[in-house]
Symmetry: C2
Subunit: 209 residues, 2 copies
Amino acid sequence: MVMQVRAARTRQALIVAAAEVFADEGYVRASLPLICKRAGVSSGALHFHFASKDALARQVESAAVDAAEKLAERYRAAAGTALQSMVDVTSGLMLAMVSDPVVRAGFRLSGDPSRKGGAELFQWWHASVRELVLRARDAGELAQDVSPEDAVAAIVAATVGFEALAGWDKDWLSTERAARFWEFVLPRMAVSPELIPDGTSLGVKEGLP
Amino acid sequence: MVMQVRAARTRQALIVAAAEVFADEGYVRASLPLICKRAGVSSGALHFHFASKDALARQVESAAVDAAEKLAERYRAAAGTALQSMVDVTSGLMLAMVSDPVVRAGFRLSGDPSRKGGAELFQWWHASVRELVLRARDAGELAQDVSPEDAVAAIVAATVGFEALAGWDKDWLSTERAARFWEFVLPRMAVSPELIPDGTSLGVKEGLP
């Protein structure tokens, strides 16, 4: 039992260390020795848990989707309307892109041309935004002259872009950026103007970078 | 003189080949032998023109900024209003991201975490969008309740995001996407509704992918 707990801890440490190295260095430059060193784990232990760098990257992507889904689930359950959920999930995710190396690495791996992976987090985010926008439309929250698919594309592209731009200048990624994005976009999308662009309804601003 | 023409051609062929390889493989995986092969040029010729892969990448970035600036200049000169210029430049740039390997590589290198470059094309694009949005505000074309900086951030992030998402699925990048983005965004930004979201005023749809 103690052995199992220790193995699970080692595995988790390797996923977090790999996420940090993938996010900082990109997939190709990330080396297994560097990941072992960052995790404080031997090369033998790494190979016990993961057959290859590709296997490790797939686990990081999968862990990123799990973390993002858990976060989204929390906001979806709490907010009053579909559009408020949309706002809150976006703020929460943009905060997680800064504070959670696994989520950040998930986006970086999705967009890394050298990886040729399945872009799992991009797929998850697109499906999540689409579901919330369609729910908003069905609930009559969406302005009549807005195409849901156009709104989905703009929201997904902007959030992915904020993450990519943060590699150049980290100011592009914060919950304040998310709030200002929604201040720009919500008056176009929403029938009701009573939404809270900065997601304060849920205290997502706590820990604002 | 013949020698100079040939040298200039070789240099140009190397820049285009390098752009293609950087865009497809990412900076780290791009190898000089592969770039030589793609350009049909010897390794000696490559080293005559470029001291290192980094020097080549900087030349690709610089060529990308030149190409994008030339394109933007054409649309800025032709369009009637600042906002119409904004729409037309975005459509033209998104088309160039597909059709011009140098422009595509410029964006890819700007967003590549393994490159640690100066993100030249991101900087250029941010400055260009900002200039057009501020010009629109000064000309009274911008809706009163829109913060110019928020609009700039949303437009830059969305366009960078479309390019990043196209690495996952190339449908994210087309002039039709650009048109649909502007159909979503323009009613929020513009005082006048008479703008043309698909940039047809300038024939940018020619060669639509």
